[in-house]
């Protein structure tokens, strides 16, 4: 078995009033795209800066390519970082930017010019070496920033929300490009983001981070379909969050009653005793709509609601319902067929969902913020 490119061992970093990184251990396999997903302030930037070497951990160890990074300065680590604002050097040309790291290694001018040009070609920027940085578009700059790091052939490339500054259209485009670049180069990427869609689309493995700890690690599919905690269920993808108490359990399905008296059924994660406070999560695409209650699947409990608002967004269109008994706001995805394109606000409609595809967790103090 090959050594993982990154091994983090019992890493701790405390600031004055809180633990930014709280006893974290994980490994990242060679050649994989690993994302750390979390809300702002969860400690992901601190973690990344410790891997890069800009912050010293209080305790624990970081090994890159099997070598401990204790007392190794950032300029001597086999790690490069793509910064949030890219941090391209405006006083240098594109070619000089890419060749900067090579020059620091004492490579001859012709050789580093040749390598920089070859690297620019690999990121589809052939011939841009003589341009100034501010002549490039946002996406091109992104590629220069990645080329500048990859030309050094690092063991690990760290990316600190590099798509955050781009507009939506370009972000969507760069997501695909980043994934293709990573596949082409085979370098291990460690990517941090607060955007769950970026993490899901790009990564082989995602760790969801909250309050300095990993809530769950797994493939994007695991996180989406098998969330391990209420935080993950609430943070990854859209979800209806229904807080209530368990009335009874049958097998692994619990009947949950909200304070307003609405009863829903959901699969339980872990042991949940009757009477316990829980949070149930139902994804908008799990629920089905019908104007006639008789057409809904017989085996699932039926609910009724009034259309509160229509959220048209092409393929992601949804409708916001107000459940009849509890006035609870419930989001249901509209089918792609356009069957409910004629829904009107205020209309009464029935919906149901498979309890096996909904999930409930014991309500913890750690609610998503």
């Amino acid at each position: 078995m090959t050594t993982p490119d990154l091994e983090v061992d019992c890493l701790v970093k405390r600031f004055a009033d809180h633990s930014a990184v709280d006893d974290l251990s994980f490994t990242v396999e060679r050649g994989s795209f690993f994302s750390i997903l979390g809300p702002s302030g969860c400690g992901k930037t601190t973690l990344l800066r410790m891997i890069a070497g800009f912050i010293a951990p209080d305790s624990g160890d970081i090994r890159i390519g099997g070598r401990s990074m204790q007392a190794v300065a950032p300029n001597r680590r086999p790690v490069n970082m793509v910064f949030q604002q890219l941090a391209l050097f405006p006083m240098m040309s594109v070619g000089e930017n890419v060749a900067f790291g090579l020059a620091r290694r004492g490579m001859a001018k012709e050789e580093r010019g040749r390598r920089a040009a070859a690297m620019l070609e690999r990121v589809s920027l052939a011939g841009a070496a003589h341009k100034r940085v501010d002549e490039l578009s946002g996406g091109q700059r992104q590629r220069v920033a990645i080329a500048r790091s990859l030309v050094l052939e690092p063991t690990l490339l760290l990316l600190d929300e590099p798509l955050g500054a781009l507009d939506l259209k370009l972000r969507e485009h760069m997501k695909i490009e980043l994934k293709q670049l990573q596949a082409a180069f085979g370098t291990t990427f460690v990517y941090i983001t607060h955007d769950q869609s970026e993490a899901l689309v790009l990564s082989d493995h995602v760790a969801v981070m909250n309050r300095g700890r990993f809530e769950q690690r797994g493939t994007p599919q695991d996180l989406y379909y098998q969330p391990a905690t209420a935080f993950v269920a609430g943070f990854v993808g859209a979800n209806n969050r229904i807080a209530g108490r368990v009335v009874r359990s049958v097998g692994d399905v619990a009947e949950v009653a909200t304070a307003q008296g609405w009863h829903v059924h959901a699969r339980t994660s872990g042991a949940v005793a009757p009477g316990a406070a829980v949070e149930a999560f139902v994804r908008p695409e799990v629920a089905v709509l019908e104007r006639d209650a008789a057409l809904l699947p017989k085996e699932h409990p039926h609910h009724a609601g009034a259309v509160q608002s229509l959220l048209f967004d092409g393929a992601n269109s949804a409708v916001l319902l107000t459940e009849e008994l509890s006035r609870f706001e419930f989001r249901v995805a509209l089918p792609q067929t356009g069957r409910f394109a004629d829904l009107r606000v205020g209309e009464r409609i029935f919906f149901s969902f498979d309890p096996a595809r909904a999930i409930c967790f014991a309500a913890a103090a750690a609610a998503p913020h």
């Binding site: 941090a87 900067f100 050094l152």
Partner: protein, 294 residues
């Protein structure tokens, strides 16, 4: 009849002219007019009482007399040295203010640089006299520590003049440096470090190119102030100071030879202009860019 847009344009021009008027008036009355008069003065010679004729005598005197030449070159070289020294001392100060100190500490440091300027230059120079004269604080301290056997005179050396000039000029270097270093994104420094650069390479390739307009602006201001300084070299250097402004003063006030003084004044102006032009040429910058960006 003028159309409405043309009238609006005319109104805007009028407002702009009125706003600029005080500055233009000041520039004309206090800078341009006296200089025209000085230029006329410097190019004439008295042939008989109250009779003058055009002449290059004053300039010829300057080039013929080695003492004038010597003082001219000495002033230029010492001013350049003072400017370089000020830059070397001000750069770390500006760096600490912008990149190391946080929040209030940074503001406090800036105020510390400013405080000496609350007292007049004369009083500051007198402060140096108290510290450095033979019976002053520093020579007494040196004797007490056993470094010198008897009190030494620390005034009236070139080093004393340089110290005084650097001290007087420091703020004028720190201010443009702080403003140019403030705009330097810290992530550029981190990125360079991350890509394998050490401190020296970061300074050479990232920090100095970014701060170049601020460095140039600070050097221009300090050089001009130093070159035209009269008080500090005179008080700290005494008879040995041999500063070019003292020659001008002597010609105007002591010798009452306004024509010669005016010629010296113009030579000093030519010196400062050509040195600044040379500095800009050497650092590859344009004056307009430097003044706008710093």
């Amino acid at each position: 009849m003028a159309s409405a847009p043309a009238q609006r344009l005319w109104q805007r021009r009028l407002v702009l002219t009125l706003l600029l008027a005080p500055a233009l008036l000041w520039l004309f009355a206090l800078i341009v007019l006296p200089h025209i008069d000085l230029a006329l003065l410097s190019f004439r010679a008295r042939s008989a009482p109250r009779h003058y004729q055009p002449s290059l005598n004053q300039y010829a005197t300057f080039f013929a007399e080695p003492l004038y030449w010597h003082i001219f070159v000495r002033t230029a070289l010492l001013s350049a040295a003072a400017t370089a020294l000020t830059l070397v001392i001000a750069f770390p100060i500006a760096w600490v203010i912008t990149k190391v100190a946080q929040g209030r500490a940074s503001a406090l440091l800036f105020v510390v640089c400013l405080i000496p300027f609350w007292v007049s230059e004369t009083v500051r120079a007198l402060g140096w006299l108290i510290l450095l004269r033979e019976s002053g604080v520093l020579p007494a301290l040196l004797v007490r520590l056993g470094i010198t056997a008897v009190p030494v005179e620390l005034l009236y050396h070139d080093a004393t003049i340089l110290t005084g000039l650097v001290y007087t000029s420091l703020l004028f270097m720190v201010v443009p440096l702080v403003s140019s270093l403030e705009s330097l994104d810290n992530s550029l420094i981190e990125a360079a470090y991350d890509l394998g650069a050490n401190g020296l390479a970061i300074l050479r390739d990232i920090v100095i190119p970014h701060a170049a307009p601020g460095i140039t602006a600070g050097c221009i201001v300090v050089f001009m102030l130093t070159l035209g300084n009269y008080l500090t070299p005179n008080l700290l250097g005494g008879k040995n100071s041999q500063w070019f402004t003292e020659l001008i003063y002597t010609q105007f006030i002591v010798r009452f030879n306004w024509e010669q003084g005016a010629a010296f004044g113009f030579l000093l102006l030519a010196l400062s202009t050509s040195m600044v032009a040379l500095g800009l040429r050497l650092s590859g910058q344009r004056f307009v860019d430097v003044m706008r960006r710093s």
